[in-house]
Amino acid sequence: MVTLPSRSDRAVREGGAPQRPRFFCVVVFAALILLAAPAGVRAAEDEPAAPKDTCFDCHRHTLSDDASLGFRDDVHRARGLSCAACHGGDPTAEDMPVAMDPAKGFIGVPRRAQIPQLCARCHADGAFMRGYNPSLRTDQLAQYLTSVHGQRLRQGDTRVAVCTDCHSVHGIRPAASPASSVHPLNLPETCGRCHSDAVRMESYKIPTGQAADYRASVHFQTLERGDLAAPSCATCHGNHGAAPPGVASIERVCGTCHVFQEQLFDQSPHKAPWDALGFPSCLTCHGNHRIEPTGDHLIGTGEKSFCVTCHSEGEPGWVAAGKIHTALTGLDAALHRSGEILDRAERAGMEVADAEVVQAGAQEQLIKARVEIHTVTAARIEETVSAGNKLAAQAYQAGEAALAELAFRRKGLALSLIIIALVVLGLWLLIRELEARKPIA
């Protein structure tokens, strides 16, 4: 037996007959409809055909309130649910007191503390959800109760986020919709509404710069470019079970996407001492919310290097950092040189597709070496860089050969044109001689 949100919705789904309207209600409704006629015409154009929903009709066409305006495009309404699904009451009744009769389950505006349970009546019911979206998870409430938000709510703190704070109240869209407040691109704003509010966060002793920091991060920049695989707030913190990852789990959280970096870091000489010292692995160098684009300048002995934060001049770590930096920048420069000469040859119309494959191979070695810096083992990185340097040298030689071939072609062309010009001149002289001897009649 499927549990439905209210008796009236069940009646609609099961095709039950609506209650018979009384004469008074008919007159009142007729007047309301006449008054609301222009809006009604407009509404008829932009609203889907839905089962009778007197709550929505009144709120939308007579009151024009924000709730009904938002609910017009709500995913629940699009799937045929009415206001009564959450608020109770009888959406088929024309008479307001009947429609909003507590005896018919009308609860009015739900209290904040009730909201997770209210949403979970459907969303935690696998059998019910299968009728709408079988792929949607039904453990949101269970997860929520494990989150910092859920735990605090249980303790009686009603200022923490409940479902409607993130998903909105009446204008709920599917999470994949770009208009949804929980779409990855909109999450920084949604989470930031509370977490950037210094007054609100004061009592929790939580910093408020996370959303601004995240917006400046390489993750958000990638997301903004349209790559929805880039992490948003929920990717690292979880969504319904939102909680800050502890020091121990940071590496696993980052490793969800940066798989090789995580594996290589586990093999590095940093791993054991950092764990012992309680360093937050990835965060130690990269930070958390404001993760900036990486570059070869972040490793080595330069001013901006992460390494110099801990290692002093002359230490083995300092020497290794310097070697790694030299190796990486050396291959990068070699790739620039080979890329530039291949570009030049290609712009001149030379076919250098084979050399470009070699160049791509060298580029892959550089990428591999840049990932391998998480081992902080200079010998391993130098080995990869050496393979990349060989390929870059091959690509450069191919570029040189293409340009030499180009020069040869141009010289050949010049020589051919001289020969052709001489032949044309000879022909012209021959014609003149012929026609001088025997003019054209």
């Binding site: 119309g349 030379m350 076919e351 597709a353 084979d354 072609r409 141009r410 050949g412 062309l413 051919s416 044109l417 052709i420 010009a421 032949v423 044309v424 022909l427 012209w428 021959l430 014609i431 012929l434 026609e435 054209i440 009649a441």
Partner: protein
């Protein structure tokens, strides 16, 4: 050297009676007047066709006509075969210049009214040769099996599929199936190197034989003066001079022997064309692009070769529906009808002012339309 050549000629003459064979060449003349330069276009087209044949045969030594190997074999020709880049460059550029010359030759014949009686069949065979050249272009474009060629062929054969009644059959025949695949490549290769050359040789033979038989046309305005002046120059040179001075007859209305005078001039033009081809092949190599991938999305702004662009652009501009019939179909029917009328053009020329003005107007309109639509096709996104 000359003695040796003369002895060789005598030796062959004694056995083959060469004098009879070369007699028409010795007696053949070419009119000399202000518009004589247009006569070089036919010969130039023929020269570029020979370049096509020679370079095409050389490309055949390395080219492999299968979907798996075609692109790589062309890449191999471009990078590994000594002077392969030059041969492919010459082949691609001379193909384009040949079609350009063929178009220019056709319009020069039209505006000089060289198609008129008795040369109607020369015009018809010339039109067939132009269509064959376009067929060479269309079939050859696919052979490198690159991305652009693949999708251009898909679009081109889709258009063929729109022809009423036989369209679908024709499309399947051209593609060797419902889709453009390796079977299409093999088929196009067959058309390009066997079927089209065989038909071309036949029509080229007819075209050249007709020119040889009928001589070279003189523009109608110059024809009477040419004849009178030629006669007077032969029998009374003083009277010829007087005619030029008093009657305002063009002094350039003469005739030159085809061999060697015109032939040597034509040879000069061929050498210049060869130089131009070399410059284009060396300084603007024909791009190979990326290998065709049937599963990849079509590249944006895909366009056919320039000589099909005016038709393609027209079809793009026609609305989806023209009354009860499909817009594209209407366009194809209109082009087919215009093509048939164009081939039959000489038969409408009745030596009457109105018909001639109409044909001239149609020629000017067609030329302006082709140029404008081609330019628009390149500018439009």
């Amino acid at each position: 050297m000359r003695k040796l050549a003369a002895r060789l000629y005598d030796w062959l003459d004694a056995r083959l009676d060469l004098a009879d064979l070369t007699a028409p060449l010795r007696h053949k003349t070419v009119p000399v007047h202000y518009f004589s330069y247009w006569y070089y276009l036919g010969g130039m087209t023929l020269f570029l066709f020979f370049v096509q044949v020679v370079t095409g045969i050389l490309l055949l030594l390395y080219y492999r006509p299968t979907a798996n190997e075609a692109f790589e074999s062309v890449q191999f020709i471009m990078t590994r075969v000594r002077f392969g880049w030059l041969i492919r460059g010459l082949h691609a550029w001379s193909a384009n210049l040949m079609i350009l010359c063929a178009f220019a030759h056709m319009f020069s014949v039209l505006f000089l009214r060289a198609y008129r009686k008795p040369r109607e069949l020369t015009w018809v065979s010339g039109c067939v040769l132009l269509f064959l050249a376009l067929g060479f272009g269309f079939s050859g474009y696919l052979l490198p099996w690159n991305e652009l060629a693949f999708f251009a062929t898909k679009v081109g054969t889709d258009i063929v599929g729109q022809v009423p009644a036989v369209g679908h059959w024709l499309m399947v025949f051209l593609r060797g199936g419902e889709e453009v695949t390796g079977a299409t490549l093999t088929r196009f290769f067959g058309f390009h190197v066997a079927v089209l050359p065989a038909i071309t040789v036949l029509f080229l033979g007819i075209h050249l034989a007709l020119i040889q038989r009928q001589g070279i046309s003189v523009p109608p305005g110059l024809e009477p003066a040419m004849h009178v002046l030629a006669y007077l120059r032969k029998h009374d040179p003083a009277a010829a001079e007087m005619l030029i001075k008093t009657a305002g007859v063009q002094p350039e209305t003469r005739e030159m022997p085809f061999f060697p005078n015109f032939f040597l001039r034509e040879l000069m033009a061929w050498y210049i064309a060869l130089g131009l081809l070399g410059v284009l092949a060396a300084l603007a190599p024909w791009e190979l692009g990326a290998k065709a991938d049937a599963f990849a999305p079509a590249p944006a702004g895909i366009k056919p070769e320039w000589y099909f662009l005016w038709m393609f652009q027209t079809l793009k501009l026609i609305p989806g529906k023209l009354g009860p019939i499909d817009g594209e179909l209407a366009g194809i029917l209109a082009f087919s009808a215009a093509g048939v009328l164009w081939v039959l053009l000489p038969f409408f020329d009745r030596d009457k002012g109105r018909a001639q003005r109409l044909i001239k107007g149609a020629g000017i309109f067609a030329l302006a339309y082709i140029v404008a639509m081609t330019a628009y096709g390149y500018i439009a996104k």
